[in-house]
């Protein structure tokens, strides 16, 4: 019934992005097919529509909806109501990247091939990156843990707990309250105050080329 996303290594964000793109493509393809052939199955697009969200993968994204949906009149194409996806503007993301580059040389660091360098050299660079990143996080976000308990301690989740803020895994059976041990305390951005951008500012320049005269 439930597919546990935690089983997928969380570091493979590129893979996720690829999967999402693939899913989106499939969706388009399916819609096209649905238009052409009237008897195409209507259930299929619904399943793959969700992963197309631009948000990070959420558990519900791949939850397959069982066959309660097949509609006898597939002629009305808009009936498989597409999941509403929020468009995020790239400006905020570009701005954050720009800040991370400016303070922490983040883009420089990630774009560099570290394979040939000694750990000591990488370590030195990481100091710059770490110091700068933490400065950016401190300055523009108010980060706080979702749960204040110590990691490893036992806690009980009441009925109606916020499933977006706390993700349960493992032996999920019966009804809440659930009792389990805290693996990761979570992070919540309590407050975000990114700097404002001037109208007409080109945020896609993450770092300008520098020329010394």
């Amino acid at each position: 019934m439930q597919i546990d996303l935690n089983l997928i290594p969380t570091t493979l964000d590129a893979l996720h992005a690829g999967l999402a793109a693939l899913a989106a493509l499939l969706l388009l393809l399916c819609l096209l097919l649905a238009l052409i052939s009237v008897f195409a199955i209507s259930r299929r697009p619904k399943v793959v529509a969700a992963p197309a969200t631009t948000a990070p993968p959420a558990p519900k994204a791949v939850t397959p909806k069982p066959a309660e949906t097949p509609r006898p009149q597939p002629a009305r194409v808009e009936t498989p109501k597409p999941v509403v996806v929020r468009e995020t503007t790239p400006d905020a993301a570009l701005q954050l990247l720009g800040l991370l580059q400016q303070e922490a040389r983040f883009v420089d660091f990630v774009q560099e091939n570290i394979a040939g360098h000694a750990d000591a050299d990488i370590g030195a660079a990481v100091r710059v990156v770490h110091e700068g990143c933490s400065k950016v996080l401190k300055q523009y976000f108010k980060l706080e843990p979702v749960r204040s308990e110590a990691e490893g301690s036992r806690l009980t989740l009441p009925k109606g707990f916020d499933a977006a803020a706390v993700r349960v895994s493992g032996n999920i059976v019966g009804e809440p309250p659930f009792t389990g041990s805290l693996i990761h305390k979570g992070w919540r951005a309590g407050k975000v105050h990114l700097p404002k951008l001037a109208e007409g500012h080109d945020a896609s320049i993450l770092a300008p080329a520098e020329v010394e005269l």
Binding site: G98, I114, H201, E210
Partner: protein, 619 residues
């Protein structure tokens, strides 16, 4: 309009400016909910961020340097110059276009503070501004930031206090007020920064300060900013069962601060790198200075690591290859800062004064001796008699210096508790040698924001609701008098100093007219030599000194009066008295008062001001 809603305090600093405020309706005695204003400013081209501090820098960008659309502010889409964080950043890479330390220039008696001389040593085509204009630009930015956040309560309608170093001379104080008035802040009053720090301490104790100090105590305030060190002594007395605070002495203007310390560390590291055969480019030294600032704070706390790695990455996009790596050890910090700036010295240690050699260009008169403890020793020794006139103070007969019993520190430098403890240790060593009890630290001050917070609180105190530090002027003022009656400068007969304003004149008071009169030629500027003394407390108006110790009187820039030719014929000689008063704002004002008729003319402090009006002085 039912009077101001807020009391606003502006700390117009050498390197950073801060605005604090308090809603006057919310204040209850010493419980005041003080807030610090978030100041919108360009943090990089086209990006407007909010910070608690406005870096006091101004950058004159080349017209091709930045896109027009990238230099905007919420209240102005074509600002004249860039002020704040972006100015600091750009200026670090292009110093020829950066105006920095305007405040130090504003108090530099050796230059015309109204003339466009900043940035010094920049090419002709870079627009220059005067120290006064730079101060105005910072104040204007702060005003606009305020008005943006409080459109209903514009700054010009609020109570406003601007802080200045205690050691600012009358001209620098007047210029600060002028800067505020020119941009429409006519109600601004001045407060000395060390006093402001003490107000902040009083406020943050929420009444508890009365248990922490007793009558008969002397509080030493040491305020080390980015560029200046400011010293004050405040004596605690009792009147009708209430504690009274009296500011009894201030120190000299010492251009020495936290920035010097970061630079000292960077130089130490550069020497270390050079010993390893690495040569540093100027930009690397700059980055090193920046890195040292953060590293210092980590190394100068209790339980600090033995060393902190310092990495200066290359300027190119390759981060890993070209980085310059070194480490700053606790040992090095101790040597450069603790022993360099706060050495353990005896009270009798003298300040080192080197003869300046061939200074070709105009520069700031930086302190030549970086040893803050020696400056402190000189100050306390000189102010031995500071509490002489107060009841309840009986300095021991053999005292070699004024004995403080408590110390209040201010300034980001003292986030390093090692430095704070060292300062106290040295002071207590001197006290011990005099057989006096050790001084203690007054805790609970906010080192970065105290000055602006104290200023906002002072705006409230001024309404008569809370303890107010008494003090008045911290110096007596004198004009030079020559033996012949009409003052004709240009030759040097034996000089006498005539006291025209005694020590400790309260705000809003006027000194008596000195009995001595000067003959002044109508229509021509007449100059007087002008002196101040922070130690001669007994001189009254009219006292004439024909001899004084070299360190008793300090010469200030000449003052000037021009008797306008209205009602008089040019060339006539009019006998006048020189009268002094201290305005409500906190500035000293001198006037020439005609002996007959009582007509008054303002005496200007900054004689070199406005070249076009500066007529040649008669030989």
């Amino acid at each position: 309009m039912s009077g101001p809603r807020y009391s606003v305090g502006i700390d117009l600093g050498t390197t950073n400016s801060v605005v604090s405020y308090v809603d006057l309706n919310e204040v209850d005695g010493e419980h005041a909910p003080l807030e610090v204003l978030d100041i919108p400013q360009l943090t990089s081209p086209g990006v407007i961020g909010e910070q608690k501090q406005l870096p006091s820098f101004m950058y004159q960008a080349h017209e091709a340097e930045l896109a027009k659309s990238d230099i905007v502010l919420p209240w102005d889409d074509t600002p004249d110059a860039i002020v704040g964080e972006l100015a600091r950043q750009l200026g670090a890479k292009t110093p020829i276009r950066l105006v920095a330390s305007a405040k130090s220039w504003l108090s530099h008696a050796g230059v015309d503070r109204r003339s466009a001389l900043l940035p010094p040593q920049s090419p002709e085509e870079v627009p220059r501004v005067s120290p006064l204009e730079a101060s105005m630009a910072y104040l204007q930015h702060l005003r606009d930031a305020w008005d943006l956040q409080f459109p209903e309560d514009p700054l010009e309608n609020q109570d406003l206090v601007i802080t200045v170093p205690a050691s600012f001379d009358p001209a620098a104080r007047e210029l600060t007020v002028e800067a505020a008035q020119t941009i429409g802040l006519r109600q601004a009053v001045l407060l000395e920064e060390p006093q402001s720090a003490l107000y902040s301490w009083i406020q943050s104790s929420e009444g508890g300060w009365r248990e922490q100090v007793k009558p008969g105590e002397v509080i030493l305030v040491v305020d080390i900013g980015g560029g200046t060190t400011d010293l004050s002594l405040i004596a605690v007395t009792e009147e009708d069962g209430n504690l009274v605070l009296n500011r009894v002495a201030i120190g000299d203007h010492i251009l020495l601060g936290g920035d010097n310390m970061d630079l000292a560390l960077a130089y130490a590291l550069r020497a270390k790198l050079q010993a390893e055969g690495k040569r540093l480019e100027p930009w690397q030294l700059q980055a090193l200075t920046h890195a040292c600032r953060d590293a210092k704070e980590n190394l100068l706390i209790e339980g600090a690591p033995a060393e902190v790695a310092i990495v200066v990455p290359s300027r190119g996009s390759s981060l890993i290859g070209g980085a310059l790596r070194t480490s700053l050890t606790r040992e090095e910090v101790n040597r450069a800062l603790v022993n360099g700036f706060f050495p353990k010295v005896e009270l009798t240690e003298k300040l080192v004064v080197q003869a300046r050699t061939g200074l070709a260009t105009v520069g700031l008169p930086y302190a030549q001796d970086a040893r803050i403890t020696v400056h402190l020793a000189a100050f306390l020794s000189r102010q031995l008699g500071a509490t002489g006139e107060l009841a309840g103070f009986s300095p021991p007969v053999n005292a070699r210096f004024l004995h403080p019993s408590a110390v209040l520190l201010n300034g980001g430098v003292f986030k390093s508790d090692v430095l704070a403890h060292r300062l106290l240790e040295v002071l207590n060593h001197w006290l011990d040698a005099d057989g006096a009890p050790a001084a203690r630290m007054l805790e609970g001050a906010d080192l970065d924001l105290a000055v602006s917070r104290g200023a906002a609180f002072y705006g409230y105190v001024r309404k008569g609701r809370g303890v107010r530090i008494r003090g008045g002027t911290a110096a007596a003022y004198y004009v030079g008098v020559e033996s012949t009656l009409p003052a004709v400068p240009g030759f040097e007969p034996p000089l006498e100093a005539l006291c025209i304003a005694p020590f400790g004149m309260e705000e809003g008071t006027e000194a008596d007219l000195p009995p001595y009169e000067f003959g002044v030629v109508v229509g021509e500027p007449v100059h007087f030599r002008f002196f101040a003394s922070t130690v001669r407390r007994e001189d009254v108006v009219g006292t004439r000194l024909d001899w004084w110790n070299e360190d008793e009187l300090a010469e200030l820039p000449e003052i000037e009066v021009v008797l306008s030719a209205e009602q008089r014929r040019p060339g006539d000689i009019v006998p006048v008295h020189l009268a002094a008063r201290v305005t409500e704002v906190g500035t000293l004002q001198l006037e020439a008062v005609a002996k007959e008729g009582g007509q008054r003319w303002k005496v200007e402090f900054d004689v070199r001001a406005g070249e076009e009006t500066d007529a040649p002085v008669a030989p």
